[in-house]
Amino acid sequence: MTGYREVLERVSAVGGIRGTMLVAAADGIVVAESLMDGIDGRAVAALTASLVGRLRRTTASAGLQAPTVMHLRAENGSVLAVPAAGDLLIVAVTERGANLGLARLEMLDAARQVA
């Protein structure tokens, strides 16, 4: 678990990220988290897992491979999700104006470290 926390904290160090989590994609359960105060980790996990599940079904219907990066952009911030081994998801919640490009790269790198 400590290993997971270290991986998540590296992602959380990117400017504008409010928190990162490792989530079980199948049931939306929190596996590990590194969150700022004020973020409900269980809600993030459940909602993101559900959205990713729907997106996977959508891309499959479109004849596309499974998503490697998912990005929900909203008025005041974003949610990013990257699949990792073991049907896990690396999830990040960001502020508006966060460095999404760097966050994306760090998350992809984190996903490779989660085995």
Partner: protein, 293 residues
Amino acid sequence: MSDPIRAMTAELAAEPGSLVFLDLAELLRRRGQLAAALKVAASGVARYPTLADAHDLRARIHSDLGDSEAAFDAWMDALELDPSHVGAHKGLGFLYFRAHDPVRALRHLETALTRSDDPGLHAAIARVRAAVTEADQAPPIDDEPPPAEGAVRAMAGDLPFSLVEGPASSATPSDSDLFAGFEGARDGLLLLDAQGMRLGGGLRDADGADVADAVAAHLAGVSREAARTARLLELGAWASVSAECGDGNLHLCAPTAEAVLLTVRDSSIPAGRLALLADRAAAAARRWLGGTA
């Protein structure tokens, strides 16, 4: 909601993998509830993409809606799965006849007749034969092979839908105006209403198969889920959802509160550029929706 529909809806909800969707969509179609019928059929096709009867059902609903082009595509899909599918041959015969191509219409109807003894089919063939004779273009039909798998796709480009009478003739041009000038206007841009019903555009997979309805069946749920996630995480209104896949990228946004736009491109178009393309297409969709309101 009447009892048989309620019962079948409950059965489908309890067992989403049930084939009862075929009966439910057909009953809804017969009762004129075409939007609901199409939604049920599209979900069924998404679950059973290799079931020719499901594509045939979807085609009949599209035909009832006046969308001859979508009906044609769906019947072609059915024939690719089952080259002797009676319903698909009858449907294509009907479409070709309406498109003033009695020769092809006759070919399909006669193929259907080899598998069905439907009295209505005999009457339809007699009518089409008369049209062929009138047009003085009767070919030796018996020498014409039935459309073979693979060949049916080639015929798609020959169908003059602009000649189709009825609702399709007014619907098709306005649809073609929607994304005019945009790359992927017919195979990579899909505009839906909030219930996941196709408003315009189209979507095809890498093999050229029409996947618009199958994808549409999921998108209303994605947009609702995105809105709910953004709201509950106190991020404000959702603006877009994007997915990067190994072989392509997908971008979903809402041009208006009642519409959802999907933009799909292969992976040579990076996600950021795809978002810019989607913004332009969303502006076009807003203009189009305003013009059709």
